[in-house]
């Protein structure tokens, strides 16, 4: 497929690996965080870590939308479906995330709650139109890539004067989470980070200019990269060069889809519909100031939080689950005692094992396979 296959060329990947090997200073370490779950997935799927010199270490970041959604938010969604008898529409990824009391959206559905999986938030709007006698809530989650579609359907619901449709908004912001990661660098458990592989499609929406303040303040290079393996390799090479030169700049490897301004139209719609929350509780990161969006009061009738007076209670993760430390980049999936034993994609204990963008799921699906092939003794 065009714009996909060329960016997965194995020959070029090996060439870039050689260029990286030639560029690294063997006397130092390069600790690079890939913020996005999409990059985590690509790195695991294509075994990119294996192509890198041992002193270049990739650290998974918190950019997996399902993973950072705290249990309390899923509990609220389940409560809407079970106590308010609404039709709750949700993206597939959230269905299997473990919630309180051994529940998940999928289990609540099996117990009779009307929970429907939608591919697009558009579908949620259609379900509301088709069921005028029922109340329909869309459980909105995700970073800046899924936020503009949510804004678009809220505006559409307003145009259609739908009275039975609302949105439970959990949209979160990438730059705020990056700031939080840098602010917690003093934590003794934190791994020092030398640079960031910046988000791909999030940057398509917000623009590369959004990281300029971050880079100036924290003096860490950010290289925005596409999601294909060659994109990631090239971005790593660009980061290594910046670090070697002592530079900290925003560079853009993904010029085919990212401009400095980003998608102005999408930004405008989001601005119209959403405003900043003072603070938001992230799984793993905890309370992060100015890191999430809520629906503006002009659109209150489409805001499920207002309409059903939805509260939020913080709920701790499963005791054995290391998702929180993994999302902060402090631990790796294999550091979790139940990884691949009690916790698997079929029976996830934590959110990082649910989404294909989650670090644990990516390691389970692609990483374990490599371990088995390369060192069967370890697995016995």
């Amino acid at each position: 497929m065009k714009y996909i296959d060329e960016f997965r060329d194995g020959e070029l990947a090996r060439g870039l690996a050689k260029a990286i090997a030639a560029a690294v200073n063997p006397a130092r370490e390069y600790r690079l965080m890939e913020f996005c779950g999409g990059h985590t997935h690509a790195i695991s799927r294509y075994g990119l870590q294996d192509l890198l010199p041992s002193n270049v270490r990739l650290i998974h970041g918190p950019g997996c939308p399902v993973c950072v959604l705290p249990i309390g938010r899923i509990d609220s969604a389940i409560a809407l479906a079970t106590q308010h008898d609404v039709i709750l529409c949700t993206y597939a990824d959230t269905l299997r995330v473990p919630a309180s009391n051994g529940l998940s959206l999928l289990k609540a559905k099996a117990q009779g709650a009307d929970i429907r999986m939608v591919y697009s938030c558009d579908d949620a709007l259609r379900i509301a139109q088709d069921n005028p006698q029922r109340e329909v809530v869309f459980f909105a989650i995700g970073f800046e890539t899924t936020t503009p579609p949510t804004a678009a359907i809220i505006l559409q619901a307003q145009r259609l004067q739908l009275s039975n449709f609302s949105v439970l908004c959990n949209h979160v912001l990438t730059p705020a989470a990056m700031v939080h990661i840098m602010e917690s660098q003093n934590d003794p458990a934190a791994v020092a980070i030398d640079g960031f592989v910046g988000p791909a499609h999030v940057s398509t929406v917000i623009g590369s200019g959004q990281y300029e303040g971050f880079v100036a303040r924290y003096q860490r290079p950010v290289v925005i990269a596409g999601f294909e393996p060659l994109d990631v390799m090239q971005a790593i090479l660009m980061l290594i060069r910046q670090i070697n030169d002592g530079r900290a700049e925003v560079e853009n490897e993904f010029t085919r889809a990212v401009t400095r301004e980003g998608n102005r139209k999408a930004q405008g719609l989001c601005e119209q519909v959403f405003e900043l929350r003072e603070t938001f509780d992230w799984r793993g990161l905890g309370e992060v100031p100015l890191s999430a969006l809520k629906i503006r009061s002009e659109f209150a009738r489409f805001d499920a939080e207002v309409r059903y007076q939805v509260g939020y209670a913080q709920v701790p993760d499963h005791k054995a689950c290391e998702c929180a430390a993994i999302l902060r980049g402090h631990k790796r999936p294999a550091d979790c005692k139940v990884f691949g034993t009690v916790c698997t994609p079929d029976h996830p204990l934590g959110a990082c094992m649910v989404s294909s963008e989650g670090a644990c799921a990516a390691h389970y699906t692609y990483g374990r396979f490599r371990v088995e092939v390369v060192a069967p003794v370890d697995e016995a």
């Binding site: 497929m1 065009k2 714009y3 996909i4 060329e6 960016f7 060329d9 020959e11 070029l12 090996r14 060439g15 870039l16 050689k18 260029a19 996005c36 779950g37 999409g38 997935h41 950019g63 939308p65 399902v66 993206y91 990824d93 591919y119 697009s120 938030c121 558009d122 579908d123 995700g142 970073f143 890539t145 899924t146 503009p148 579609p149 678009a152 791909a200 499609h201 999030v202 398509t204 929406v205 596409g226 999601f227 060659l230 994109d231 090239q234 090479l237 490897e253 993904f254 010029t255 085919r256 889809a257 990212v258 998608n263 139209k265 999408a266 719609l269 989404s355 294909s356 963008e357």
Partner: protein, 81 residues
Amino acid sequence: MCLAIPARVTELLDGDRARIELGGVHKDVSIALVEEVAVGDYLIVHVGFAIGKLDPVEAEETLALFAQMAKIDPANPAPYQ
């Protein structure tokens, strides 16, 4: 959720929508979030909405840059054996 890959526009439809093709699969998506979409454009689609367009000139330049970085002549690949 964020693993969207570029899809080609095959037809413009009413109501800010377009038909796209991806590896032989056709789908209708919203183009309400992007400006000036034409048949043949490649779109980045998330959850049923195009959120950006692909710039073909930049794509070619990036591929050329990879080849240069990897010191491989695109017309004559595989010097590393």
